[in-house]
């Protein structure tokens, strides 16, 4: 653009042109400056990360590939033996091949393979914590919404509460409960549920604040009380979005509960951490495949349901 000349322009045109070019220059300067600042930060961050790691990046890179190449099951079927708890022909009495030990017998000879069972635990942790979080977030969101709660102090208190619940590190809640209740999924449920209350609560009150207030006005005109106004004026508008966010949250919580599982909450996360930490390749790949399929399936189901509800809601991750 700067190739244009000011020839043939009037005095006013030239002024406008030079003013415009000045603006462009300032803008470019700011862009270059902010990119410079960003790169400086990045450089420092990379240097710092590299130095505080247990091994430098380029020193460790060959080891990483070594690990990847050597971390393989004895034969591809081992993965499925590990997955379905079928005795391994390589069994040597070590924990590496003790696939059938983990079977969970339901009745008679019918058993659920260990990893399927652990996956079931993790999925249930995710579902119940989403449900519990929803039950708490639902009423709180109405209190936090500007258009439904007059008292500014009450709104402020509820919003700050939701913020703290959202930002409070999940591992601390889980760790504390693990110390009290001993290892197990209940710690994970509470930790994930607490975060869910904060996250869903925020999304929900934003939805409520965007609701059309005309039905509410109508109900107020015919003498409806607060609950009636919420029930018949607001709820029908926000419910599809609520359910959509709930489904999105379920997806996220499945991931969250595997991670929390790994730090003491039980379920598939813990088994995975142990098996990769001890170099049990077949078991590790079996779990990765199971987890991958589960997450893809849950994402797919949730996307389909959401599409049916509101024709797809965008964003709102994490």
């Amino acid at each position: 653009m700067s190739s244009m000349t000011t020839e043939g322009l009037s005095e006013l045109g030239r002024q406008t042109r030079s003013h415009y070019e000045g603006l462009v220059r300032t803008r470019r300067l700011y862009t270059v400056l902010s990119i410079g600042v960003l790169l400086t930060f990045l450089g420092f961050a990379l240097w710092f990360a590299d130095n505080s790691n247990a091994g430098r990046f380029f020193e460790r890179l060959p080891f990483f590939f070594d690990f990847f190449i050597h971390f393989q099951p004895d034969d591809p079927f081992e993965i499925f033996r590990a997955m379905f708890d079928i005795p391994s022909p390589y069994a040597d009495g070590s924990f590496k091949y003790d696939y059938e030990v983990g079977r969970v017998y339901v009745w008679g000879d019918f058993y659920i393979p260990e990893y399927f069972y652990q996956l079931l635990v993790t999925i249930n942790v995710a579902l119940i914590s989403t449900l519990l979080g929803f039950l708490l977030a639902f009423p709180l969101a109405f209190v936090a919404a500007r258009n439904l709660t007059r008292s500014a102090s009450l709104r402020f208190a509820v919003r700050r509460c939701l913020e703290i619940l959202r930002a409070f590190p999940e591992i601390v809640i889980a760790g504390m409960l693990v110390a009290i209740l001993s290892l197990g999924p209940i710690a994970a449920i509470v930790a994930v549920a607490v975060h869910t209350v904060g996250a869903l609560g925020k999304l929900y009150y934003e939805v409520i604040e965007n609701a059309d207030m005309k039905p509410d006005e109508g109900l107020r005109a015919v003498g409806g009380n607060w609950f009636e106004r919420v029930r018949f004026g607001i709820m029908p508008q926000v419910l599809p979005n609520f359910v959509s966010y709930l489904l999105l949250r379920t997806e996220i919580n499945v991931r969250a509960s595997t991670i929390i599982g790994a730090v003491g909450g039980g379920g598939i996360g813990e088994v995975f951490r142990l098996s990769i930490g001890r170099d049990y390749a077949a078991k590790t790949y079996a779990i990765i495949i199971l987890l991958f399929v589960t997450i893809v399936a849950i994402d797919w189901i949730s996307t389909q349901l959401r599409r049916r509800l509101v024709g797809g809601v965008q964003g709102g991750w994490a």
Binding site: A49, A54, A167, P169, S182, G184, E206, G223, I259, R273
Partner: protein, 448 residues
Amino acid sequence: MPALVVPAQEAALLRGKYPTVFHRPLWQRLRGPFAVLLGVGYMVFCFFFFQVPKVVEEAQWDRAGLYLADWYSWEATPRFRFREDAVSIEWTRSLLGENPAPDWIEARPDGSYRVSFSSVDNYIDILSPTDVVAVLDGKSYAVPIGPEGAQLPVDAPQAMSLKGGRVTVDFGFAGSAEVRNTQVYVRHRFFGWPNFFFDTKSPFFGMTPDQLWEAATSPDRIDPRMDNWQMIVAEFLYNTEWQHLDVFNKLLQTIVMAFVGTLFAALVALPLAFVAARNINPSRIGSWLTKRAFDLLRSVDMLIWALFFVRGFGPGPIPGIAAIFFTDTGTLGKTTTEALENIDDKQREGVKSVGAPPATIQRFGVVPQVLPVFVSQALYFWESNTRSATIIGAVGAGGIGLKLIEAMRTNQDWENVAYMVILILIVVFIFDNISNMLRTRLIGRVEH
């Protein structure tokens, strides 16, 4: 409030006029109750599936109180040992300095001690190895001590309990005293953390801000090797129990993990999204492959990436960065691809119609449409990754998460946990605000 009354005739008319409102299909009417029933049923199932009654029954609730008390208070734990007819005091892990002589312990010339708790009516007198008197709310109870252990006095109140030859006298928040036949173990609780800034061994321990300022500015060096203010900073950072320097270092690692991971993910996801978008990339195979790559990156859990990279690179921020980078490239790539596929084609056509080369078409016809969505998403990810980085740190990716989980495992350092939680909350809060500010400045107010 008087309800609005509709005359019967009119009501019938309305009913006839709007059958969809007054006679909804059965499944629509039952949908709500059915959902509630399903939820309740599922909760009952989970109640038994997770064996809630058993876990709650076996829980050690008293621990919760102890740990939480550590969050805002500390305990002095002197032991009064009985040695050959005499009582001697012994300190363990004391925060009272080298030679503690607190005013709540009165040492008498005859070798006996009085330990007072919160008020003049609550104290315990340790007169001799066989003579210990507890005074609760002004009433005194002599605790009989025999060779088999201590016994409850006959008229013992609720605050005194016996367990395995040990009598525990509970003084509420102020602490407790445990009388055994070899010693009296006193736990006296106080608000705050006195050694938060300086170790008890440090010359600056217990100084007021004024005194500290005076020491910092005074030319007389306490340590000849450095100035006083340098020493103050060093003593603070290398505090042995609170490990401020280490905590800051680990916190910075977590911040770096989130920042670098998200930034790299954004830099890689944006160009890849152009490859994946059907309406921009004419190659079907390229688009399909990139989309599946996004799905793969996204659906392999962050935990899996984290543990894989921890095995490869060793503990530290590098595996954390890698895990965040891999997962978020997938997620950001997917959302950006969706945004690209939903763009308005007219702007692109406009730029194309004036004869712009392909790169310019993308730059001026496409990028301005998706950039707001992209930037907003990337900032949102940065924010939420600050939290994720804490958690994946705990599985070995270093940072504050690892330090947190180590502090919790020892079951003693709950005050350090509280300190780190507060720091994390502050960092998350600051980043929330920075990210919101940047979002508003870059793309204006948007509904998220």
